[in-house]
Every structure is written in C-alpha cells, then in structure tokens.
C-alpha cells in the first residue's frame, strides 16, 4: 500500500509544469489535489515514471467573477468554492453539490480542475460542468485551447486532454435571473460515490412556463449525460407533475447505467429518475422564488 517510485517535480509556474509534463508524455502524471491520484498510486493501479506536482503553481488557484462569468483556476480547492458564500447563494446548485463531494478533508485538498480532468462518471464536477455549460481552458506545449464541457468527457476516466496537456481553468456563465438550480445525488453513506445523480437548471418565464431546462445525469453512463430529449420536452411547458413524469421517463431512457456490487443497472436507472424528479421540483421552486 505504498506508492511505487517516481521522479518528482514541483514547478512554480504553469509553463514549467507543461514543459515537465511533456518530457514524460503518457508515462507522467500531474498531481493536483491527490485525492484520486494518490489512492491509485497507493493501490499501485498507476505507476507513472514521473509526477508533476501542481500544488506550488499559485497562478492556477483563483475563483473570480468577471462580467457575469465565474472563472475557477484548476487548482482551486473544493473547500474554497464551498466557502464562497456569495457565489453559493447565487448558484444553489453548487451549494447543494459541494458538501456531497467526499468529506471535508477530501475537499480541503481536492481541486475543481482535478475532479474534472479525472473524469470519473460518478463525480459531481463533471456533471456540474455540463449543467453549467462550462468551458475549459487547456494548455499544452503548442499553446492553449478551449473545450466545451459537452465535448470534454469521452468516457470513464477519459477526457480530451492529451498526455502533454494540463487543465488551466473552468468557467461558466452565471444563470439568468429567475433561473432555479438544484443538485441531487444518492449514495449509501455520506460522502460515498453516488450511485446516480442529477444536476438541473430551470428557467421559468412570466407565464409559469419553462423557458430553459438543463438536465445533467451522473453515475448512469461512462460519462455525465445531458438529457437533451427531456430538456426539449420541457421547453415551453408548465412544470407540472405530468411534465416532470415525462422528463423522468426520458431521463431513464437516456441513462446507460452499468451494474456493479453497489447497484444493478436497473436500480440505477430507476434511481436516476427519482433524483431527476426531486431536482426538477426543487429547481422549479427556486426558479419561482428567484423571479
């Protein structure tokens, strides 16, 4: 249960980090919060020849709002986001989700960028980034590029990041006033990986009809899923029990859950529907009070 040997570096700038990472290509890994990577090293599921520690790259640690957009540096600790009272007040989906991410000690070290780059299909941040229509800035030796959240996650623990690329920033637009948001997940114990979850954003217009709906599902596929069919069906409709029921059915169709010892695929499929229903009701209620 001890990590295997690796060459270690702790650069002070992103530029240095990119260059060090590129030296080892596939065989090198970056270390962000370490809450996912170090267990893999300890269990010897990963044995990189080199680890580039990003924890001294101060320029990657920031959380700021500029012109209605939230910019989160990749090395921002989960607990730093959790403690941004103003942001959480305006974005209840984050207030719902952050305390569900592992436990406090995990969140004190774990990073937003690390969670996203790790691309665990049962993790909260990948689904959140889909629901928030986030964009990711990625930096490599040949420069930087921007990737939309919808294009970022390819499969379990697989993102579009090339071996020589490092995630620099995640950003998203604050929702329109009157938008309600909610995040709901189910895990058997506090802090466990979720069996399924739903991240929902709902806009309700003056006539009480859905003007915009975003539903992202986690834990029910190899990557987080946007339930676009369900979103489309809700458009222009009142958020009635019947419409919510239809959305639940659509989400269950969209889900591609697997079976494991924690839950069968049929259980997860059922569960995600229940969670979508709860999230839609909560987001809808918040949208009405926010308007």
């Amino acid at each position: 249960m001890k990590p295997p040997r690796f060459a270690y570096s702790a650069p002070g700038t992103l530029e240095e980090a990119v260059s060090l990472k590129a030296e080892h290509g596939d065989d090198g890994l970056v270390l962000a919060g370490g809450q996912s990577l170090v267990p893999l090293l300890a269990l010897r599921l990963a044995a990189p020849s080199s680890v580039v520690d990003l924890n001294r790259v101060d320029e990657l640690r920031y959380l700021r709002e500029e012109e209605g957009r939230v910019h989160i540096g990749a090395m921002t600790r989960q607990s730093a986001v959790e403690r941004s009272a103003g942001l959480l007040e305006r974005l209840p989906i984050l207030a719902d989700a952050l305390p569900l991410i592992g436990h406090r000690a995990i969140r004190n070290r774990g990073t937003v960028g690390g969670s996203i780059a790790h691309a665990d299909p049962a993790a909260e941040w990948p689904a959140l980034s889909l629901a928030l229509d986030a964009t990711m800035d990625v930096v490599g030796p040949s420069g930087s590029r921007t990737v939309a959240a919808g294009d970022f996650f390819l499969g379990p623990f697989t993102s579009v990041l090339d071996p020589d690329e490092i995630l620099r920033e995640v950003r998203f637009r604050l929702p329109e006033p009157g938008t309600g948001s909610a995040f709901v997940e189910y895990a058997r114990r506090y802090g466990d990986f979720a069996l399924a979850g739903a991240a929902v954003m709902v806009g309700i217009d003056g006539e009480g009809r859905v003007s915009a709906a975003v539903i992202a599902l986690l834990g029910v596929g190899g990557r987080p899923i946007r339930a676009t069919e369900a979103e489309r069906e809700l458009q222009g409709q009142a958020l009635s029990d019947e419409r919510i029921g239809a959305a639940i059915a659509s989400c269950r169709e969209a889900a591609q859950p697997h079976s494991d010892i924690h839950g069968s695929s049929s259980y997860r499929r059922h569960l995600v529907g229940v969670l979508v229903g709860r999230a839609l009701r909560l987001a809808g209620a918040r949208a009405r009070t926010a308007a």
């Binding site: 690796f6 270690y8 680890v51 607990s79 406090r104 004190n108 070290r109 114990r189």
Partner: protein
C-alpha cells in the same frame, strides 16, 4: 529515486527530514518524527484515521507526500493538548463520554472534530454525524463519539 531535504513546522516546532518523494506525510510523521498518534487504516483516503491539519485545514496525511508539506505547518493529535499537557476539551470529552474503545480512529476524529467545532460551535446531532462521516470507527458504533462532540462543543462554548 532521489531524496530531498524538507523542513516544516510540526505542532509549533521546526523539523527537518530527508525523504523520497513517494514517502507519505503520514509515514514521515510516524517513522521519521516518531509521532505515532496519526494512524494508518486504509492508506487510500477513506477511513480518516490519518487525518491531520495542514495549514489549519484537515487533510488525509496518507494522501500527501511529505515533500508536499515542505514549508508548511502541520498539526497532529499530539499537538492538540496545551503546552502544559492540558487536554483539549475534545480529548476530555472523548475520555469522559467513552468516545473511544481501541482508540485507533480517535486521533483522526479529534482533528476532524476540532476543525468542525471551530467553524460550527453550536452544531446539532445531524450536523455532527455528517461532519464526522469521513472518519470510520469499527468499535463504538459512533453514538458515544457524537455524545463526546456535543459535550466538547458545550464545554468550548462555555469557554
């Protein structure tokens, strides 16, 4: 794997060491500094027995490399008691309310609870259970741990 020199503040004193990069902070504290209060349960971040404070925040020492703590401040369970050995109110409460049996998980619980009560001096039972959920105990069934935290909170509020 080349070793490097590290320096850090541990429980208020400056300490030095020489470690391989892969040596965890937990192992450094235990083996190099003889601070065996921090325990190794699962060594992959789940059980919380290795929980310590890094720069005032609770973290899993098994998921940090000692080199990462170079230049930082660490507080372990050994640093909870006062300079004259006066027990921290949490330590007193755990003792009085039978919040430990074998004691293996206790150091981690104390650190987690210390951080929690610092931020939430008047928690209810549900909040305590949620905050302590990152620490696993195989002996107590948690009931007396919760009672201990409630008692400690009260004592700390009374000041």
């Amino acid at each position: 794997m080349s070793e490097s020199e590290i320096t850090m503040d541990v429980n208020g004193s400056t300490v030095r060491g020489r470690v391989e990069p892969r040596k965890t902070l937990a192992d450094f504290l235990r083996e190099d500094l003889g601070l065996t209060g921090t325990h190794l349960g699962c060594e992959h971040g789940v059980c919380g027995a290795c929980t310590i404070m890094l720069d005032g925040q609770s973290v899993r020492a098994c998921l940090l490399f000692a080199v990462q703590a170079d230049g930082h401040a660490v507080r372990t369970v050994e640093g909870l008691a006062g300079p004259g050995g006066e027990l921290h109110p949490l330590q007193e409460a755990f003792s009085e309310h039978h919040g430990l049996q074998c004691g293996f998980c206790t150091a981690g619980f104390l650190i987690s609870a210390a951080e929690f009560l610092d931020e939430n001096p008047h928690p209810d039972e549900r909040e305590i259970r949620e905050a302590m959920s990152g620490n696993l105990c195989r002996c107590t069934g948690y009931a007396n741990i919760v009672r201990s935290v409630i008692a400690a909170a009260e004592r700390m509020r009374e000041g």
